[in-house]
């Protein structure tokens, strides 16, 4: 792609003075953010800094109190379903029904999302996260890590251009965390955009192209992953 063409391509995410207020409390205020297609962006910050709120706003789960936003050149207010096709969010919750099996969960997600998934493909996906031998077990009996791995499969199923991950490493063992690292690297190679919020700075700063530090709902600082480590150390 020529530089001119790349310049004219729409940004993956563009927010203008975006804000969200709950009652009297601003969870996020005046957020001007630009995420380039193919970029891996890390959102860092202490609890309550606004990372999850920003991800949920981008995913369309919250309606902004102020400001506007574009996702790959689309206005989520006008083109809600098209935006949903473009992105996926894996948040703190697992989005699972305890009484359904892992295989049935994948089938519900794919059918409702209008995707085709043969049983063999589903089993292959479950094998990726070491759950193929548990495919017919109710997910209510799964450990927190197994549930997380199953939910993270949504990023493989939906084949989105924009992947939003909220604390993707939490609840996972070392092997699981390595797998997510591999996936994120794979998304970067495939030209997908990743925005992740994480407290695990040693891992996430290695992966990101750019990091943003949030504090009390405001964007405080931005730079590279290594600069973030120099700025705040390994914990925020």
């Amino acid at each position: 792609m020529s530089t001119r063409a790349a310049d004219s391509a729409p940004l993956a995410v563009q927010t203008t003075s975006l804000g969200k207020r709950f009652g009297r409390q601003w969870a996020l205020a005046h957020c001007d953010l630009e995420v380039r297609p193919g970029e891996v962006l890390l959102l860092a910050g202490a609890n309550g800094s606004g990372k999850t709120t920003l991800l949920r706003l981008i995913a369309g789960l919250y309606k902004p109190t102020q400001g506007s936003m574009m996702i790959y050149g689309m206005d989520p207010e006008q083109e809600k379903l098209a935006c949903r096709r473009t992105l996926t969010l894996v948040g703190h919750d697992n989005y699972l029904y305890s009484q359904l099996s892992a295989l049935e969960m994948l089938q519900v997600w794919t059918r409702l999302g209008g995707m085709e998934l043969a049983e063999e493909q589903a089993i292959e996906l479950l094998r990726e996260v070491d759950l193929d031998d548990r495919r017919d077990y109710p997910v209510g009996g799964f450990s927190a890590g197994m549930r997380k791995r199953l939910t993270l499969l949504r990023t493989r199923l939906e084949k989105p251009k924009l992947v939003l991950l909220d604390e993707p490493f939490s609840a996972l063992d070392a092997a699981g965390q390595n797998l997510i690292e591999e996936w994120i690297e794979g998304y970067r190679t495939a030209g997908k955009t990743v925005v992740l919020a994480s407290h695990n700075l040693p891992r996430s700063t290695k992966l990101c192209d750019r990091a943003i530090l949030l504090q009390q709902g405001q964007m405080l600082w931005q730079g590279t992953g290594n600069e973030l480590l120099d700025h705040v150390g390994t914990t925020v």
Binding site: A59, G60, L61, Y62, K63, L81, A82, R84, R85, T88, L89, G91, D93, N94, Y95, L96, Y97, S98, Q99, L100, E104, V108, W109, R111, L112, G113, G114, P138, R147, T151, R154, E158
Partner: protein, 228 residues
């Protein structure tokens, strides 16, 4: 996948969840039976009075059981925020609404085969097969009329701690026409209909069911703008 296909996927998922976790159905059925029993104790052994009030008691048992069933139907969605996982998919919220409403209607319809015979025995009412069939038809219309606004309100209140109080407070005033139509027509079936009025009440029930299904379907996407 079209709207109908998405709605049917939600119905299939809900029926599967219902089948696996039979606790909800059993507890709602037992609640309905206990309610019928309490009404008969409240009236006493006066069989004439019991027969005259049987239609009202049956419909009230359905209404009270329905709030329990409706709030439970969204509790399972909130358990691990499964509903949010569905809302994140490129699925039309209207399909989610009609899927949930249809499965709630089917659930309420399942109460009829249990509550009707129990009510008939408790209140000493005799009914022939034709009357029973008409009663089941009316029950289906009442279930449809209750589940449409019930699903909307259950979704809106599902994240609130006071859902169990709020849901009936919001739902009961809205479904008064359904309640009236169902009580009148059921009473006519049970006590005799010399003026052939059942048809008119059934038409009223069907009309309100259509109005609620249409209006609530339109309102649902706005009601869940901030998520459920």
């Amino acid at each position: 996948m079209n709207l109908l296909g998405q709605a049917m996927t939600v119905v299939r998922k809900d029926l599967l969840l219902e089948w696996r976790g039979k606790g909800r159905l059993i507890s709602v059925l037992l609640f309905g039976v206990v309610t019928l029993l309490l009404f008969s104790f409240a009236v006493g052994p006066d069989s004439t009075l019991l027969r005259a009030a049987a239609g009202g008691f049956l419909v009230l048992a359905l209404l009270l059981s329905s709030t329990l069933g409706l709030s439970e139907s969204f509790r399972v969605e909130q358990e691990q925020r499964a509903i949010e996982g569905l809302l994140l998919l490129p699925v039309d919220p209207i399909a989610l609404y009609y899927g949930k409403t249809l499965s709630n209607t089917l659930f309420l319809m399942l109460l009829a085969p249990v509550l009707t015979p129990v009510g008939l025995i408790l209140y000493s009412v005799e009914l022939d097969l034709k009357g029973l069939a008409v009663l089941l038809g009316l029950w289906t219309l009442a279930a449809a009329g209750l589940s449409a606004p019930g699903t909307l309100y259950a979704a809106m209140t599902s994240r609130l701690q006071s859902q169990d109080v709020l849901l009936p407070l919001l739902l009961f005033p809205l479904v008064i026409p359904v309640l009236m139509g169902a009580v009148k027509s059921t009473t006519l079936i049970l006590t005799g209909d010399p003026m052939s009025q059942v048809g008119s009440w059934a038409t009223l029930l069907a009309s309100f069911a259509i109005i609620y299904w249409s209006l609530c379907g339109l309102l649902f996407p706005h009601a869940i703008e901030e998520g459920i």
